[in-house]
Amino acid sequence: MSSLQSLDIAARSATTTPSPDARRHVTEVAKLIDVSSCIGCKACQVACMQWNDLRDDVGDNVGTYDNPRDLTPQSWTVMRFSEVEVEQNKLEWLIRKDGCMHCEDPGCLKSCPSPGAIVKYTNGIVDFISEHCIGCGNCVTGCPFDVPRISKVDSKAYKCSLCSDRVGVGLEPACVKACPTGAIRFGAKEDMLDFGAERVVDLKERGYANAGVYDPAGVGGTHVVYVLQHADKPELYHGLPADPHISPWVSLWKGAAKPLAVLAMIGAVVGGFFHYIKVGPIQTEGGTKDEV
């Protein structure tokens, strides 16, 4: 899933010219995760391991159902279990499937220094292209959701690919296929948002006044969207950021700083050259060639 020949590359890391983008009629896709319908069975985690042929190390129990405890290079999606009391004495068990959000404006892609190591397809999927990955870890610092993980074994970055290989041949992502409750859906982003809106209406009728769809505008929207019972407090869901955006530090570094610094360096060299042409060298009078 890496060749430019797919002609559907919307953006490519560390690339200053347009990428092959002829097939732009492609529909934008999205995965809708309805947290209110999730039962925490982890079938999606298993399906992800199976399809992507990944085997994480056996972890340890830390008193929660989270297993593994965090995203890893071998676990591209992890169920996050949060026990919260939004109202007193009313325990809620919020279970969020964590993983790459496939931002419309991906911070990883912006941070990546290696041309083509991260691409965003016209359908919205953000993909890591391992053959170009140099293992610098910039994607980790660029991501507003703390998703990419660098392997200690091969020094490559890994994360959910939204099964770009399956989607490319008209299949739904493995996690969607496996979900027994229909909590995970996949399709055109427009349809997913429509369906999400229906779910929100239903949840509001059932007493969740602040239910809503999580499609954060700070990163231009995402291609993984959540239906949340408490959309006004996304932090309840294991720290899902309320207003994710690319850090101003990343924007400064990859925005103004880069061209200005390069201009300054080239300017200094060119300036020096013409100073020499105009003023000429400072020579010591009376010295011989060896002596000056």
Binding site: T16, I134, G135, W249, A264, G272, P281, I282, E291, V292
Partner: protein, 205 residues
């Protein structure tokens, strides 16, 4: 001929210079896509990523040597401030109206201290996002800030190095001083009068 730099001074200087070139070129490769082709010099992207921090650390260690050798002669004195005030005259190519200079002029001192500060910043911030060993030990926000300071310090260091190299090409005899270690009496008198008097005991103009 007057000895200006000992064998050790010169070897140390050029070690740092070579490492600067390696660290600078490998770092620039990651700084802007226009320079990514420089990774070819170091065996490709992953190898450049692996080597860059080591170039940097060794450059820093080399500079510690230069620091120990040269810090005394780079202490800022009132006459240096005076020299800086007149620097525009020098840039027009007229050195004769400049205040008398000791072993190093104010420009050389400024280069020394800017490089020292930049290298310290580069080392501290560089460790914070050094994959695969140290990066995980620092919070992501700190790493984001570290990358920006790293890039900024590197830019200042490279600009300073460009000025440093240009000055060496501009003032004839300087390159010889750092390659062979010696300068002519006339050169010393013209560019570093106070130092000339100090080493020769002559009080001539």
């Amino acid at each position: 001929m007057i000895r200006r730099y000992s064998d050790g001074d010169r070897i140390n200087h050029w070690l740092v210079a070579i490492l600067f070139l390696c660290a600078g070129l490998s770092g620039l490769a990651f700084f802007h896509p226009a320079f990514f082709f420089l990774t070819a010099l170091f065996g490709g992207g992953p190898w450049t990523r692996i080597l860059h921090p080591f170039f940097g650390v060794f450059m820093f260690l080399g500079f510690v040597g230069l620091y120990v050798r040269f810090w005394r002669r780079n202490i800022w004195r009132p006459r240096d401030t005076e020299w800086v005030r007149n620097a525009s005259t020098l840039l027009k190519g007229d050195e004769d109206d400049m205040p008398a200079v000791g072993k190093n002029n104010a420009g050389q001192k400024a280069v020394f201290w800017i490089m020292a500060i930049c290298l310290a910043l580069l080392l501290i911030t560089g460790v914070m996002f050094w994959q695969p060993w140290f990066a995980d030990g620092f919070p992501i926000l700190l790493r984001r800030i570290a990358v920006v300071i790293h890039a900024l310090s590197a830019t200042v260091l490279i600009l300073t190095a460009i000025v440093h190299i240009y000055a060496a090409i501009w003032v004839k005899g300087s390159v010889h001083a750092m390659t062979r270690g010696t300068v002519s009496e006339a050169w010393a008198r013209k560019h570093h009068l106070l130092w000339y008097r100090e080493v020769t005991g002559h009080d001539e103009r």
